[in-house]
């Protein structure tokens, strides 16, 4: 039960402002989800490199960890982004587990960085200096916890695959069963959260060869309940609402961007919003925007 925001930049001139715009959108959605917040930003990547977002307890000395790993690290509050050569991910993850077992790897990808914490969304955005981040697209979430605990692990977005993340507003009614099936297939889930099940489900489908669009189509058959998903990948973002579509969703598009908000309020400070095409995504219809490679 939550608020969702998403922004996909079409005009490169706007890329430096991505974090600033998303931060403002996130602030407005505080009411819908005062418990915790999180966001994924698709920023610059380097060929052959992978970014791991790490999260540790307050006071974690990420610089020292980077030093011991011999890898560049960029700390931000309780999180840090470690940039590693693509071939070394398994080895580096294993070394982190040994050197700093209290540190979790919460995302991996060539461009995605992911941050989330418990607290008022406006404060969370400030702690990580979201406003200072640049990139091509980003999604964010403010959470009113329903059945799972108010913890950082339970905050959105959930990432269960490289450069993939998902945020969710609603409540799934068959997530326990889907979770058991995914676990039987070998996926490991970190929380009891229904949204993580949705993220893992999409990752599982995409590993099996589905495109994001096709994975979303299948979720209409396999996931029961009320939901609005916004999903990010390396090159784009997608939106899906369940067939009953009780949870709100508003989209806006201009020549410069495509934006998603749980409510129109989230979009009001976007550039030239008065001239944007504003509409409500249809139920059970997959929307997807992709950047040219």
């Amino acid at each position: 039960m939550c608020g969702i925001v998403g922004l996909f930049i079409k005009d490169p001139k706007l890329e430096p402002e991505l974090g600033g715009l998303l931060s403002t959108m996130l602030d407005v959605m505080c009411d819908r989800g005062p418990d915790s917040a999180g966001f994924a930003v698709y920023g610059a990547g380097a060929p052959g490199a992978v970014k791991l977002t790490l999260r540790g307890p307050a006071g974690t000395d990420f610089a020292a960890l980077g030093g011991r790993l011999g890898l560049p690290v960029a700390p931000r509050d309780t999180h840090a982004v470690l940039t590693i050569p693509a071939g070394r991910e398994i080895e580096v993850r294993a070394r982190i587990a040994t050197l700093a077992p209290e540190v979790a790897v919460i995302s991996s990808g060539s461009r995605m960085e992911l941050y989330k914490e418990v607290g008022l969304p406006a404060d969370v955005a400030k702690r990580f200096n979201l406003a200072g981040m640049a990139g091509t697209h980003a999604i964010g979430h403010t959470r009113m916890a329903t059945e799972s605990a108010v913890t950082t692990d339970g905050a959105h977005p959930f990432s269960t695959g490289p450069d993939q993340c998902l945020v969710h507003n609603g409540s799934l009614s068959n997530h326990a069963g889907v979770r058991r099936e995914l676990e039987r297939e070998g996926l490991r889930l970190a929380t009891q959260n229904d949204s993580e099940v949705a993220a893992a489900y999409l990752t599982h489908r995409m590993k099996g060869g589905d495109s994001l669009g096709s994975a979303l189509e299948h979720s209409l058959e396999d996931l029961d309940g009320f939901y609005t998903f916004v999903v990010g990948t390396e090159s784009g973002f997608g939106v899906l609402r369940d067939p009953i579509a009780c949870k709100p969703a508003v989209m806006a598009e201009t020549d410069q961007y495509v934006a998603f908000g749980s409510e129109y309020r989230a979009l009001v400070d976007l550039p030239e919003i008065g001239k944007a095409r504003v509409w409500e995504p249809e139920p059970a219809k997959v929307y997807f925007w992709e950047r040219a490679a």
């Binding site: 039960m1 608020g3 009411d31 989800g33 009113m144 329903t146 059945e147 009320f226």
Partner: protein
């Protein structure tokens, strides 16, 4: 040659699984093709307040002198956001029951009895009647999925607004009022054709989920200029989460209704098989409030199977601020009275078992719209009976509170209680009598 009559035989044996009641229901279903619809709450035996006992004061604690030393019973509801909180003289309120399901006389009697004792009554799924508003000093106006009769004038006339998300008898389900009770007046109030079977929706038409409920509550507060306390009522199923979410949605008061709570009419399978007992729900709801630091700031009303002052005291000791009664109030008015035994028999039932409230043939004139039957209930006398009954509940609750050394019934606490059964100990989170053992104390609740 075998003599069959002399050979010992086992006795005829009926099945515990397929007992007489079950067999009769199978036959009824086979004959009609419709599920059994009835009123009232769960009839099966479930762990209840009877399974708890109070630890009266003796040497380690001192009791208050009964009749002399003060033991307050007042309760203030809606102190969180409302400009005009409600103050009740007793911690027992009357639960929502609609005009339509009840006769106008019965609604008037509820208003008279409750007002005499300084407590509130509640409308139901059918709007507010003049009789009810006129005779209720404090009236809670329910905001239901159907929105029958909903209008801003009555909203402003109410003393509090109760957003009904669910009911203990049927969490997740909507109501049903069969054609016999949709008289011209009921039909007009609900904007329905007279005589049809009315089906109520299970979800609100213009919001779903706590994040949108917060916006709906904001609208109701704007319309009523932030004066009225806003309650959120849920049927007990996942009371920890539901209570927490009601608080996050901005409720002033949370109402948790256990599975013994009654209804005017719904499927029997719903009443008996969906939801959890009141006893199991109270502590979870209280825990949610405590975890959010909102216990006593957002008030908790508990309902479902409250019958006597001991039940009231136990609900308060477990952390509720007040209780609500429905079925017991109807019985106090005269529902299921043995003096109508012959008429109940003619309906194929007996006093104490009559639950076909939806059919509108109530011999006691309470759950009916039939003018002749309605006339049997004298609202003044019935109101007096209800006031008497409410007085007894209050006196009994006070008696127990004094015995536990409390100068206010709200000072009763879980530590004043022990349980007779392991089930009750686990559900109420109090020790088994004579031990310090609380089953599952290491669990989450």
């Amino acid at each position: 040659m075998n003599d069959i009559t002399n050979t010992p035989r086992t006795l005829p044996r009926t099945s515990a699984t397929f007992d007489d009641y079950t067999l009769s229901e199978i036959r009824r279903a086979a004959a009609t093709g419709i599920y059994d619809i009835r009123g009232a709450g769960a009839k099966r035996k479930v762990p209840h307040f009877d399974d708890l006992l109070f630890l009266g004061a003796s040497m380690s604690r001192y009791p208050l002198e009964g009749y002399r030393e003060r033991c307050d019973t007042s309760v203030v509801l809606g102190t969180r956001f409302a400009k005009k909180p409600i103050e009740l003289k007793i911690p027992v309120t009357i639960a929502g029951m609609s005009f339509g399901s009840l006769s106008a006389n019965a609604k008037e009697a509820l208003g008279r009895g409750a007002s005499a004792m300084g407590t509130s009554t509640t409308t139901g799924d059918g709007g507010m009647t003049q009789e009810e508003r006129g005779h209720s000093k404090t009236l809670v106006y329910q905001y239901l999925p159907s929105r029958y009769g909903m209008n801003p004038d009555d909203l402003r006339k109410a003393d509090a607004i109760e957003v009904v998300v669910g009911q203990g008898a049927k969490p997740g389900g909507g109501g049903m009022l069969l054609g016999q009770k949709i008289t011209d007046r009921v039909a007009k109030m609900r904007t329905l054709p007279p005589g049809i079977d009315q089906r109520s929706a299970c979800r609100h038409p213009d919001w779903t989920g706590p994040d949108d409920l917060e916006i709906k509550i904001g609208e109701l507060r704007e319309i009523t200029d932030w004066e009225k306390p806003i309650y959120v009522k849920v049927g007990a199923a996942r009371p920890y989460y539901d209570t927490a979410l009601a608080v996050k949605s901005g409720a002033d008061v949370v109402v948790v209704d256990g599975m013994q709570g009654g209804t005017a009419a719904t499927q029997d399978v719903f009443i008996e098989h969906v939801g959890i007992p009141t006893l199991a729900a109270v502590r979870q709801a209280v825990k949610a409030l405590q975890d959010l630091g909102m216990h006593r700031k957002v008030q908790l009303i508990v309902s479902g199977g409250i019958r006597n002052g001991a039940d009231v005291a136990k609900a308060l000791a477990l952390g509720a601020d007040a209780v609500a009664i429905g079925t017991a109030a109807l019985v106090a008015l005269g529902d299921n009275d043995p003096r109508y035994a012959a008429e109940y028999e003619a309906l194929g039932t007996k006093p104490g078992a009559y639950d076909d409230w939806h059919e509108g043939r109530d011999p006691a004139g309470i759950t009916t719209q039939d003018p002749a039957l309605m006339a049997r209930l004298d609202p003044v006398a019935a109101g007096r009976r209800l006031a008497n009954y409410l007085a007894v509940l209050t006196l009994e609750c006070q008696t127990i509170a004094r015995a536990c050394g409390k100068s206010h019934v709200h000072n009763l606490e879980p530590d004043d209680l022990v349980a007779l059964t392991i089930e009750a100990a686990a559900m109420a989170n109090v020790p088994l009598a004579g031990t310090s053992w609380i089953p599952g104390v290491n669990g989450n609740f």
